[in-house]
């Protein structure tokens, strides 16, 4: 163990600290703040959507703006909120969890963060352009996103390129750090699960972000340079776009959930005061999920007219994914079983994660059944499904991680009462928002429509009320964080009774530089 009381300088002062910093903790903070800002911007868009859908008829916005909102909400939340949120946690925690002084490539780290604000400023600026922002859904299917797109699509493509470069550079940095900078006796099977899941996630990112870059470049040349990749009129194929997009898109889904698995696997043992039930099977399950994620992309395309054998292959492969995912859930539950449980805010979020993510997994299994998917596809059932895996999945895990490590970051305990308020309001709000969507989806309501027929009215009203409850509850989180940064009960080095791992061996708050000499690992 080491501390930073030594000769090392602290952070620079003023704006330049943030512009030039190569410190993983500073960069982690910037990622997390960026992610939170995007979460609120994307959330505001969601509330505009929910406002329009309170009752049948067009009240608040017109269809063309509604489509811009659904598109931007998806893009901002996926690429602006969830992904940078996880990268922020990785920046903060991975060096401290493996006993490294910093990320392996600190300047690259600075660069990969600073691309993001520019990428998303450009993305958001499309809202003010002639013809409006992208309005073709976050999946931007051609030819709606090429021949029929608003002029701002070119800026959208550039912003996607920038966000993609940021992700690839971040992923390279994480892989290099984990492979080269672990404390001497920390072999791979001693790494904390958060580190493991991020290592696998980083490989997924490197594998698929270039596919996304290629896809948007093909769009660009279709729009401006007369190619016809996605235009049957010139010998191309609109379905090719979907194959490429989902070859990126499905691993992308796991990019947004594997680090969440890691966070939950840190928190559940801590508050159960009991080791994780199956460490090695968790590692193998995560790896299998990552490998399988490359073989299931066409389950997003069951209605495009795949040949029968294709349809069967993708159905079987998708069903298979539920096996390793199930293993993870069983392991978490087995970890809690016969533990000594306490229910601080991180644990509440973690338990809600397990329950609600499992519900999202169940609807995912239902969607895998290809014949039934002909009824579910592109309805609110799908909307319910992916929000159940992304909101109580990805978002709750980031919240859980933030509460779990806040004492280490700030040196203060957060206000437990407010934390619990935040949890319960979010929990009730999100179930109120997304559970009724299963019903309207099964009853036949298509997704991405600004207006709907009368039989869907009641559940949509409930969803909207829940949406506002969930949205405004997030302000409690901001209050908790601000209060915790400013002061509060002094946090111990080991801030939680059952916490284990190198990050708890340094003082709270963690000094600006940690592990200048490698620690001993048992």
């Amino acid at each position: 163990m080491t501390s930073a009381t030594s000769h090392h300088h602290g952070p620079a002062t003023g704006m330049t600290r943030w512009l030039y910093t190569t410190n993983h903790k500073d960069i982690g903070n910037m990622y997390l703040i960026f992610s939170l800002v995007m979460f609120f911007i994307g959330g505001t868009m969601a509330l505009i959507i929910r406002m329009e859908l309170v009752e049948p008829g067009l009240q608040v916005v017109q269809p063309e703006f509604f489509n811009q909102m659904t598109t931007m909400h998806g893009l901002i939340m996926v690429f602006g909120a969830v992904m940078p949120g996880f990268v922020g946690l990785a920046n903060w925690m991975i060096p401290m969890m493996i006993g490294a002084p910093d990320m392996a490539l600190p300047r690259l780290n600075n660069f990969s963060f600073w691309i993001l604000p520019f990428a998303f400023t450009m993305m958001l600026s499309t809202l003010f352009m002639d013809g409006g922002a992208p309005n073709f859904g976050w999946t931007f299917y051609a030819p709606l996103s090429t021949t029929y797109a608003p002029p701002s699509v070119t800026y959208f493509i550039f912003a996607m390129h920038m966000a993609g470069i940021s992700s690839i550079l971040g992923a390279i940095n994480i892989i290099v750090t984990i492979m080269n900078m672990r404390a001497p006796s920390m072999n791979y099977m001693k790494m904390p699960l958060f580190v493991w899941t991020w290592l696998i996630t980083a490989f997924l990112l490197i594998a698929v972000m270039p596919v996304l870059a290629g896809t948007v470049t093909m769009m660009l040349t279709d729009i401006h340079f007369g190619t016809s990749f996605f235009d049957a009129g010139g010998g191309g194929d609109p379905v090719l776009f979907q194959h490429l997009f989902w070859f990126f898109g499905h691993p992308e889904v796991y990019i947004m959930i594997l680090p969440a698995f890691g966070i939950i696997s840190q928190i559940v043992p801590t508050f159960s005061r009991k080791p994780l039930f199956g460490y090695s099977s968790m590692v193998y399950a995560t790896s299998s999920i990552a490998l399988l994620s490359f073989t299931v992309w066409a389950h997003h395309m069951f209605t495009v007219g795949l040949p029968l054998v294709g349809e069967l292959f993708f159905m079987y492969a998708t069903m298979l994914i539920s096996v390793p995912t199930g293993v993870k859930v069983f392991n978490w539950v087995a970890t809690m079983f016969r533990g000594s449980l306490t229910f601080e805010t991180p644990m509440l979020f973690a338990i809600a994660f397990i329950v609600l993510f499992t519900i999202g997994g169940f609807s995912g299994l239902m969607l895998a059944i290809s014949p039934a998917d002909f009824q579910y596809h592109d309805t609110y059932f799908v909307v319910a499904h992916f929000h159940y895996v992304l909101v109580p999945g990805a978002v709750f895990s980031i919240m859980a991680g933030a509460y779990y490590w806040l004492p280490k970051w700030t040196g203060h305990m957060y206000n437990e009462f407010l934390g619990k308020c935040h949890f319960w309001c979010s929990f009730v709000g999100l179930n109120l928002t997304f559970f009724p969507m299963h019903f309207v989806g099964l009853a036949g309501m298509p997704r991405r429509i600004p207006d709907y027929s009368l039989q869907f009215a009641d559940f949509n009203m409930i969803s909207s009320i829940g949406g506002f409850l969930f949205g405004f509850s997030q302000l409690i989180f901001v209050i908790v964080v601000v209060k915790c940064v400013k002061g509060g009960k002094k946090a111990e080095a080991v801030s939680w009774e059952g916490a284990e791992g190198l990050e708890w061996s340094v003082p709270s708050p963690a000094p600006y530089h940690t592990f200048e000499t490698p620690p001993e690992v048992k």
Partner: protein, 374 residues
């Protein structure tokens, strides 16, 4: 506690599902009116109940731990972990369940993919934002547009019971016959979905997809476009009228007569007032979605017609763009979509409405000669 909340949720959820006999339409998937749709429904219920059972098992263990193994209740943590036998069991058992589920799913899928030996073939073409139905063996073709009044959408009048699920010309099919659908699109990707038939298939420009149904009960079945296709994606419903075979044959004859009468009408002389009256209707159905009822459009994507150079001055260019569309934009070619009278009427309307007072009367004969010269 959390677990109790979940138990409550599950209780409510299964209660709601058990209500489906009373409120089929509102909470659960429809069983539909075809053999395939019933198979799909039963697959849906099977996998749903499998999930419910697994959920109850897993969450009960969790709930048990939350109640009995809490520190405040004096629980001491055991330190057991890693058990290969247990890991193997909870890997293999789910695989067996999945295989059991895959068998009926495969059977149903094979059935859905068998489009052979159809009795009636209908080509369905998606347009922004309407459907075209072509009866391939009947030389019969027409468009189907949303018929809900704009006032209802804008909350200016009471919404009727079929709000947004009604069209001017429904698709008519005979019951008991195998009807094959050939789906394609004129512009972007659409998806033709009628829940009661469990038919959902994407309509993709430049490609043809196949699907089929054999409806068992006469009735009116409603659906919607299921793939985001632009601004009015939410406003292109599908209505299918399933009728007896006799009624179907009569309908085909009547429909053909009506179309022939429309062609004959192009030969007579139409007054400005007649064309304006008809033109307004055609405009509201086909043009207003983009160019707006006020003719002001939504620039720059959908240009204004009110005061535009084309609509005020160059009549030939005006006719040309309506007939042939504008490449690389959302402006479609209407020559094949509307009759000569409708085309003449709508062009006349656009040249005389909203203060575009050119006084021009575009005769159906002129349109016909321009269409024929192509």
């Amino acid at each position: 506690m959390l677990g109790k909340f979940f138990a409550l949720f599950f209780g409510v959820c299964s209660f709601l599902f058990s209500m489906q006999t009373h409120a089929d339409w509102a909470l659960n998937m429809t069983q539909g009116v075809t053999d395939v749709s019933r198979s799909v429904y039963s697959l849906h219920m099977q996998i749903f109940w499998i999930c419910v059972v697994i959920g109850i098992l897993v969450f009960s263990v969790m709930l048990w731990s939350i109640i009995h193994h809490r520190k405040s209740a004096g629980a001491k943590a055991e330190q057991f972990h890693e058990n290969t036998a247990v890991e193997l069991i909870w890997t293999i058992v789910p695989i067996i369940i999945l295989v059991a589920m895959a068998v009926p799913a495969t059977t149903t899928l094979i059935k859905m993919y068998d489009t052979s030996e159809s009795d009636v073939d209908i080509q369905i073409t998606g347009y922004q934002w309407k459907w075209q139905y072509q009866y391939l063996s009947e030389d019969l073709s027409f468009f189907s547009n949303l018929s809900t009044d704009q006032d209802e959408i804008n909350n200016l009048s009471e919404k009727n019971v079929n709000y947004l699920l009604e069209v001017d010309e429904p698709l008519v099919i005979p019951v008991g016959k195998k009807v094959r659908f050939l789906l394609t699109s004129n512009d972007v990707i659409h998806s033709w979905w009628v829940p009661a038939f469990a038919v959902k298939k994407d309509a993709i420009p430049g490609f043809i997809n196949e699907s089929w149904t054999r409806v068992e009960e006469e009735g009116i079945y409603r659906g919607q476009c299921a793939e985001l296709c632009g601004k009015d994606h939410g406003f292109m419903p599908i209505v299918v009228k399933a009728v007896s075979e006799d009624e179907y044959l009569n309908w085909v004859t009547d429909k053909k007569t009506a179309i022939a009468a429309e062609v004959a009408a192009a030969a007579r002389v139409w007054s400005l007032a007649e064309l304006m009256e008809r033109g307004e209707k055609v405009y509201q159905t086909n043009c207003a979605a983009c160019h707006q009822p006020s003719g002001q459009g939504i620039p720059p994507t959908f240009p204004a017609l009110k005061g535009s150079v084309i609509a005020l001055e160059d009549q030939d260019a005006h006719i040309d763009i309506v007939l042939n569309g504008k490449a690389g934009s959302a402006m479609q070619a209407y020559a094949a979509q509307l009759s000569a009278v409708d085309l003449a009427a709508v062009i006349t309307y656009e040249r005389n409405a909203w203060g575009n007072d050119t006084g021009d009367v575009v005769a159906p004969q002129l349109i016909q000669s321009m269409v024929n010269s192509k």
